[in-house]
Symmetry: C2
Subunit: 416 residues, 2 copies
């Protein structure tokens, strides 16, 4: 079975807004064994929406309309889909009563516009909306012209998701291929996408039972999305697990995540597991490493804090880097990275310390120390390690690469 | 004139990838006075792509195809558009020579697949691609069936943008309505979207000469996008400028940006202009404020650095907050925020110091100090200010709100 998703709203045809609901819907449809063949974005114009609906009905088994269910004149989805299907609309007394109750509960008066939200296409089941005023509709067509499923959903993502999970999923799963789908997502660090694909292709290409998608995540991260469909959940899971195991054998400890966790999450798990704490001293990454670590809820259990040291004097006063070292080797040097890691570790009384110094650009590069040159260091009580790298890309990418390297070094130190 | 943008690629029909090129293209088309009526996403399937092309040609004056111009079997755009137009393809010797030269320059051998990249639709102008192997095509159809413009562009954003600006823009502007379009983007801080709209509607609604779009940016930021089309550039500019002036009168100093600059950029301008420096001490925002400030190239001219102080002892050792103050009032208190701002300012010898402490959640909230409670403080030599706020939303949004508040306080301090 195939599906088309139609996102409705003139704001989605501006440079400022984008349909994102379709990503969620695609994931859900894929889990049901349904592929998405077309996505269409159309504005709030009667003729455009009606013809888009007609085209979709002619080429897809399942057509999902998103948006245009509100109470304003611009909300034309009910009306246009009814025309495209050649079915009349009838105003539902039940929905009117529900709408009135909803407004009354908030002490508001319902305006007459809202009445159009009670218009139901002939043959449709009404999908209640617990989070907004616009009910959805589900139409299963089965006649001489063939089978089709037409679904009308509200646009706001939290309304759409709740309605899909509570109202659409069970209806769709009765009508879609009843095969089971299992997923896995492996992530690897510090290997480029094409290098990763070159090594992985010989492993996943022969596996017809698993669909593999390789994606470049943020700089320094590659994701393998594995998906298998089978007659039983056990078989589907076995398929993805065996391919995941083969990929883990190939990439060994570059695999940091076996189920889609982020690198900062994994580092957090390891730190907690080891009862260890972390402190960081950042120059060119300017707080990004601390920000990534503290984006994880509960990170205060293992992250103590640290310093952002843009100036030489702060490298000395906040992270105890000897000023003579900076004079001798320059602020961007392996010696200063090492001193930052060791200094902040001691200053914060942490198990592990990280130091980062480099040239994030766009200015500040020299022939000897070009934009992209970064030193990342990790220290514990017994050993300090420094890596020197030349990262490609702009300021944002260089900063991200450097924090990714730092997190990966911490992960590897904790794995041992 | 109206346009349809067709994004081609099966990866764009997965849950993982999204067409973003169309946002750029929409902005450019709007500047030429062309509205986008439809956006379609279609996979690498011959029948689907051909029918999508036929449908688009029947309903849009300008059809832009993005992607599917590579050398693989999946790259079907040239072939399917030719079929939809009923025009033959011819292999261009010039393109073959260019491709061979391109490969030779890199010491690579060109494989035979690449030859299909030399297939040109009858009547098309070839658009050279300085950044990749796939040339684009531009077809101006003007016959008994009417006028149409068909454009084939490569998918990678940097290739697409360069080709559009260098090759497409001048061709399109000869063929599109020669009216001028002016833009302005105002941004305001710390006012909600609906509150901002309620105050702004009476100002922009009566103005038929300017199209106004209000968007919520990141938490604590609302954007007004103003666009006017007129017979002369002067008139278009005058239209947006007069509306911008009226909005600035209404929102006064909440307007931080008169041309779309970010708050961190504006704070950077002010700091440089005043010859002032900044240091920050962050607890709940965990480095996000420093990260935002240092995301701006050249921020080392005014940002010195600071401390991320997740633990009480680091608040004392890195930012000189008296431990008695923490014991007495708790780490999340206006007193500690004030001490963080003053302490880090002195410690770093900065003109201005910022302190942030709060409960970002999801855990750690109490009845007296719930999730979302944040104290933000700004200190200079003569005065320290603290604001207490209860921010809505999840950890990410609360952290962003707090940094936005901090940047806005710094901006206001520097405006005086």
């Amino acid at each position: 079975m195939n599906a088309e998703i139609i996102a409705i709203g003139s704001e989605l045809l501006t440079p400022f807004r984008q349909d994102t609901d379709s990503l969620y819907l695609t994931a859900k449809l894929n889990e049901l064994g349904v592929e998405v063949s077309f996505k269409t974005v159309v504005g709030d114009r009667r003729a455009d929406l009606t013809s888009a609906a007609q085209i979709a009905l002619s080429r897809a088994d399942i057509v999902i309309f998103v948006g245009g269910l509100g109470p304003t004149e611009d909300d034309l989805t009910r009306e246009c889909v009814a025309v495209a299907l050649g079915r009349p609309l009838a105003r539902s007394r039940q929905i009117i009563a529900d709408l009135r109750a909803r407004f009354a509960a908030r002490g508001w008066k319902m305006s007459d516009n809202n009445l159009q939200q009670a218009d139901v296409i002939e043959g449709a089941e009404v999908l209640p909306n617990a989070r907004g005023s616009a009910p959805g509709q589900f139409i299963h067509i089965s006649d001489a012209g063939g089978e089709a499923i037409v679904i009308l959903l509200p646009g706001p993502p939290h309304e759409l998701k709740a309605m899909f999970e509570e109202q659409v999923l069970f209806r769709l799963s009765r009508l879609t291929p009843a095969r089971y789908i299992a997923h896995r997502e492996l992530r690897i660090a510090m290997i480029g996408e094409s290098a990763a694909d070159a090594r992985a292709a010989k492993i996943y290409k022969p596996r017809a039972d698993v669909e593999t998608t390789i994606l470049a995540g943020s700089p320094g991260e590659v994701q393998f999305h594995l998906r298998s469909r089978a007659e039983t959940m056990q078989q589907a899971q076995k398929n993805v697990d065996s391919l995941a195991a083969a990929l883990e054998d190939e990439f060994e400890d570059a695999v940091f995540s076996a189920n889609g966790e982020s690198l900062e999450q994994i580092v957090g798990y390891y730190l907690q597991m080891r009862g260890a704490t972390l402190a960081v001293a950042e120059s060119c990454t300017g707080g990004l490493l601390a920000e990534r670590i503290t984006s994880i809820p509960g990170s205060s259990r293992y992250f103590l804090g640290g310093a952002v040291v843009y100036t030489n004097s702060l490298k000395t006063s906040l992270a105890d880097v000897p000023s003579s070292l900076i004079e001798q080797h320059g602020a961007v040097s392996s010696q200063v990275a090492k001193a930052l890691a060791e200094g902040i570790r001691k200053r914060c009384n942490a198990t592990l310390g990280v130091g980062i110094t480099g040239v994030a650009g766009p200015g500040g590069g020299t022939e000897k120390k070009p934009v992209g040159l970064v030193y990342v260091s990790v220290a514990d009580e017994t050993r300090t390690e420094v890596v020197e790298r030349n990262y490609p890309g702009d300021r944002e990418r260089i900063r991200h690469w450097a924090t990714q390297q730092a997190l990966d070094l911490v992960r590897r130190r904790l794995m041992v």
